[in-house]
């Protein structure tokens, strides 16, 4: 498994996502409350880009008339037919065993920036450590 650099943590604020192309696959990396989750950017139903979906919570109910909204910000509705996916696992809510999108492992590390890549230093070499998101594939 190789680590593929995706972005600086600050580029993907909570609630947002970034789409990248890694080894021929379109991957969407979501920031869910500060943690990063990477899913194949393709709905298993008819192939829509999950990155264009809307982030919601999960309405739950034990009986008619009583309901609560749990897991705010952790569920994605596909932009086409509205299938709900758990961002943390890639599994659909209604049929988790058969309808799911592939999930990839992520990690966050501090990475030393090469001089001149991110910052323009005039005279002295500068080394900056910044939190960076990686996907392992």
């Amino acid at each position: 498994m190789t680590k593929h650099r995706i972005a600086l943590v600050k580029e993907i604020p909570p609630g947002s996502n970034k789409v990248v192309n890694v080894r021929g696959r379109e991957i969407c990396v979501f920031n869910v409350g500060g943690d990063f989750f990477a899913l194949l950017n393709r709905c298993p139903h008819e192939g829509a880009r999950l990155s264009r979906g809307v982030i919601v919570g999960l309405p739950e109910s034990d009986e008619p008339g009583c309901y609560k909204l749990s897991r705010p910000g952790e569920i994605l509705r596909c932009p086409w037919h509205g299938w709900e996916f758990d961002l943390k696992t890639g599994k659909s809510h209604c049929d988790p065993e058969r309808m799911f999108t592939k999930q990839y492992k992520t990690c966050v590390e501090n990475e030393a920036a090469e001089p001149g890549r991110e910052l323009q230093a005039e005279t002295f070499p500068v080394v900056v450590e910044e939190a960076t998101v990686f996907v392992e594939m």
Partner: protein, 367 residues
Amino acid sequence: MTVIESPQTGVAKKADTGIIDCDIHPLPKNAKSLHPYLPKRWQEHAEHFGGHLRQPFIHTTQYPRSAPLICRRDAWPPSGGPPGSDLDFMREQHLDPFNIINGILIPLFSNVASERNLDYANALATAHNDWQVSEWLDKEPRLRGTLVVSQDDPAAAVKEIERCARDKRFVQIMLAPRSSEPLGRQRYWPIFEAAEAHDLPLGIHSYGVGGNASTAGGWPSFYMDEHYATTMGGPATMSSMVLEGVLERFPKLRVVLVEIGFAWVPSFMWRMDRLWERMRGEIPHLVHPPSHYVKRNFWYTTQPMEEPSRPNDLRRTFDWVGWDKLLFSTDYPHWDQDDPAYAFNVKLTPAERRQICRENAEGFYRF
């Protein structure tokens, strides 16, 4: 390892054959887009009074919601305006990637068929047809238009048909199944006569706000019910048209039911034929069993496609309905649209795909 931001629009998914999309919904860019096609008297009417429809909701509709403007969330053009309003974006997101050789526009906005003010309805119908020609058909040779008429004013509707039928890019006449009365009733027959005379099929799209409850059991509580209810309107429309004798009187009239489903058709035919055997004395004008007219005169678009849990059930449904009766459609840009690459959850042979996705429509619309 380079990190690349993927482009917004899709990877080209070229179908193995050019396809014909029998249901695309264009929208005007804004509330004034139709004004150039409306006489000043009606521009002012639109601004001061607006439409007058027989529907119970304020600021919403019986029709599919689930997403803003009923559209898939990635179909909002980057240039602005609502989904379906930008021809360049429609080409980029839909027509080009799927190799759509012909797309049939069906403009649903304004609910012209249900507008209570019939003079306004007629002005709107003319405006919709002229708008289609100027903004879409003249600019994109792959597109075809649908003739919008005010169906509750059949004399005016016939005039509009006569006016527009000369332009062969209009390939069908749209009627709303959610009508004031069941569509087979004799008040609508002048429209059928004109359609048959011009060899223009009727495109009956799930549309209209006739004022009746959306289901036979009354007004449902949930949007899910409303979505399904549009399909249940299919048997009511078909039954009325068949039993009133529309297809006995106008035998060459072709009818396509658009976005009304098709899996219900076989059981409906079985039921109607049995009833006809027992009750034919009530409708002696029907010379043949109902299924004869259904098989001869009706076609169906495929969206929304059925998705049975046993994929082979879909194939058997096609056997019962008739493989030659199915016209592929996407319903772009609505959220419940079908992607041509994934619409069928059963494997089709290339010949079967070509038949449903192209040849049937070429024959039906005389392309």
